[in-house]
């Protein structure tokens, strides 16, 4: 038993040291605070939102920001602050679901292709070329247009395009790791290819991929709100930042807060992801050993 606890304590010490290093960086702290707030807003909007995001109040249409409505109200008298807060739930979900499947598919495909190379690699290369020839947004819009608008279809469309980027990155990292002797050592020790790939190569290759994932979640929010703005993503009356901005665009002159406030939310959340991603990139970068 003592042997077991012993075997875990050094790892725990390392994690603690890593966290201490991470939290000594102001940018990481700011990023974590922003993401933490965003996450709590996304998980418990009913706690934070002062009003029902869908309730019309025709007595209070397009009111300027005030104490009663800090972000003002929209053209149906809905409280913009409450709508922005409820939109956190949708947009944080988008950040996650639009990227996680692309991440998993991309890592798996990229790892196998990078490890085996050969004909699979050639075919993969052509597929990648074919997909990235199209501008990202145009391709996603085309797929959504075929599938029909809505959040789930949007996830499918983004994943269908986005996995390529993860796969490409993973492939390159795996190929670099494969050149190390420990990969050959795994081979001569008679380990299976799956074991070599997932236990030895991938953990050593994963950090740039995770960093890219962080930035990509910010991009996914931008993409999701772009599609929402165009009417292809989340559907009104659901509160989503892109949808909110679209609703406000006719009133930019008279009720600027309708579009500005969700816009600020997008920027802030994106900033949170980028700051954390950036700090992780620095922290995870291998130091000269």
């Amino acid at each position: 038993m003592t042997a077991l606890t012993q075997s875990h304590s050094p790892t725990r010490g390392r994690i603690a040291a890593f966290l201490a290093r991470a939290f000594s960086r102001p940018s990481f702290v700011v990023g974590v605070v922003i993401l933490g707030l965003s996450l709590s807003l996304a998980l418990f909007p009913q706690v934070f939102a002062p009003y029902d995001p869908l309730a019309f109040d025709l007595q209070a249409i397009q009111q300027r920001p005030s104490l009663a409505h800090p972000f003002g109200t929209d053209n149906f008298g809905r409280d913009v602050l409450s709508r922005v807060i409820w939109a956190y739930r949708v947009d944080m979900q988008m950040a996650f679901f639009a990227t996680i499947f692309a991440l998993l598919i991309g890592i798996t495909v990229g790892a196998f292709v990078g490890y085996y190379g050969g004909i699979a690699d050639v075919i993969f290369g052509r597929c990648v070329d074919a997909i990235i020839t199209f501008p990202f947004l145009v391709l996603v819009i085309a797929i959504v247009a075929v599938l029909g608008p809505g959040l789930v279809n949007m996830y499918v469309a983004i994943t269908a395009v986005n996995w390529v980027y993860y796969a490409r990155l993973t492939r390159a990292e795996i190929m670099a790791q494969k050149a190390n002797d420990y990969a050959a050592a795994g081979l001569v020790l008679g380990y299976s290819d799956r074991r070599i790939i997932f236990r030895h190569l991938l953990p050593n290759a994963i950090s740039p991929i995770l960093v890219y994932w962080m930035t990509d979640m910010a991009l996914a929010i931008l993409l999701g709100s772009s599609l929402g703005y165009l009417g292809l993503g989340a559907q009104p009356p659901a509160a989503e930042w892109g949808v909110l901005i679209a609703e406000g665009r006719n009133f930019l002159m008279t009720a600027w807060w309708m579009s500005l406030m969700p816009g600020i939310a997008i920027v802030l959340t994106g900033l949170g992801f980028s700051l954390v991603g950036d700090a992780l990139a620095d922290l995870l970068r291998p130091k000269g050993r």
Binding site: Q6, P10, A184, A185, L189, G190, S192
Partner: protein
């Protein structure tokens, strides 16, 4: 001879490994045959590019990029050449293990040393977690890592180069292999550590009855470690025999040249002998003797006529047309030393 008494575990016959197209193949290993007995240490020497490492890798079937291997590699009577990847995997690590030149990069930097040892045990034995841990401690002890119990949970970067090579050896030994392939295991280490590692390999071979093929380009390493030596040049064997014969009384001009280029008992500031020229490219090998272009005693027929390995005495084979000339050329100065 001691080697004759022990059973032969590895019998390589006419091994040929080539790369590139079938029409214009690059032959990295050409008609190489040798045997290794249980508990014996065979040294494989030669310059860079002489095919030593490719020979080792051919045995385990891990030639990358994919090359074509022909000939027979009889491992306890079973030919390894036609085996499938899955069949080879059962032999790799379990019966034949291999260690590499770079102890810095041959350990996974993210796994503790204990986990890397027990991983081999998971792959090749039925031990449970506690037994694996005990065995890992035992192995680290065996390869001479002090306070093995406490170092089990350390990561590779917490070990020095020599200690890492010991860890590599411990991992390789985990499943009691009968043959250890050591690909220049001491090249990246400094001289005192080199010596320790060689002694370790030697004593492990003796105590565990494990055969070893030690690839190196260092004649000194061979002289102090190996029972028998094979000298390779341009993918072919020049000379193979007991260490006493090949080091003490070399016959092939290439072996003689290699030995001559070791500084020993010479006056300070004497220019060191070096074999003139550079090793030939694989696509420019002559049909005859590979060494003929650089050989001081080569005759007119040498580039065209391949010399056969012929027995000299009881325990040595040499491939050269001009043995007497070589003796005459290198002999006097050798005697002067």
């Amino acid at each position: 001879m001691a080697t004759q008494e022990k059973p032969v575990v590895l019998d390589v016959r006419h091994l040929r490994t080539e790369f590139g197209t079938r029409e214009r193949p690059l032959v990295a290993v050409d008609d190489v045959s040798f045997q290794v007995a249980a508990g014996e240490i065979l040294g494989l020497v030669g310059e860079s590019g002489s095919g030593k490492s490719i020979t080792l890798r051919s045995i385990l079937g891990i030639i990358r990029p994919r090359g074509r291997v022909a000939g027979e590699i009889l491992w306890n009577g079973q030919d390894l050449v036609p085996l499938s990847e899955a069949q080879l995997r059962r032999i790799r690590g379990r019966e034949i293990a291999m260690i590499f030149q770079e102890p810095m990069s041959s350990l996974n930097p993210l796994l503790t040393v204990g986990l890397q040892i027990s991983e081999n045990l998971v792959a090749h034995t039925d031990l449970d977690a506690r037994q694996r841990r005990a065995r890992a401690i035992e192995l680290l002890d065996l390869v001479g890592i002090p306070a093995a119990r406490n170092r089990l949970d350390d990561f590779p970067h917490e070990f020095s180069g020599g200690m890492r090579q010991r860890v590599m050896i411990a991992i390789a030994l985990a499943s009691n292999p009968k043959l250890l392939l050591a690909d220049e295991p001491t090249t990246a280490l400094d001289v005192t550590i080199q010596d320790q590692i060689l002694r370790l390999i030697q004593s492990l071979s003796r105590d565990l009855g494990m055969a070893v093929i030690l690839v190196t380009h260092d004649m000194g390493v061979v002289a102090e470690t190996c029972d028998r030596v094979a000298v390779m040049y341009g993918g072919r064997l020049c000379e193979i025999g007991s260490t006493a014969d090949v080091i003490g009384d070399a016959r092939h001009p290439y072996s003689l040249g290699l030995l001559r280029s070791i500084p020993r008992d010479v006056a300070p500031r004497t220019p060191l002998y070096s074999i003139p020229g550079a090793p030939p490219a694989l696509n420019a090998l002559p049909p005859g003797c590979a060494f003929s272009a650089r050989c001081p005693v080569a005759g007119r027929e040498c580039p065209d006529l391949r010399p056969k390995l012929e027995a000299i005495g009881t325990s040595r084979l040499v491939a050269c047309h001009h043995l007497e000339d070589a003796q005459a050329h290198f002999g006097p100065r050798e005697a002067a030393q």
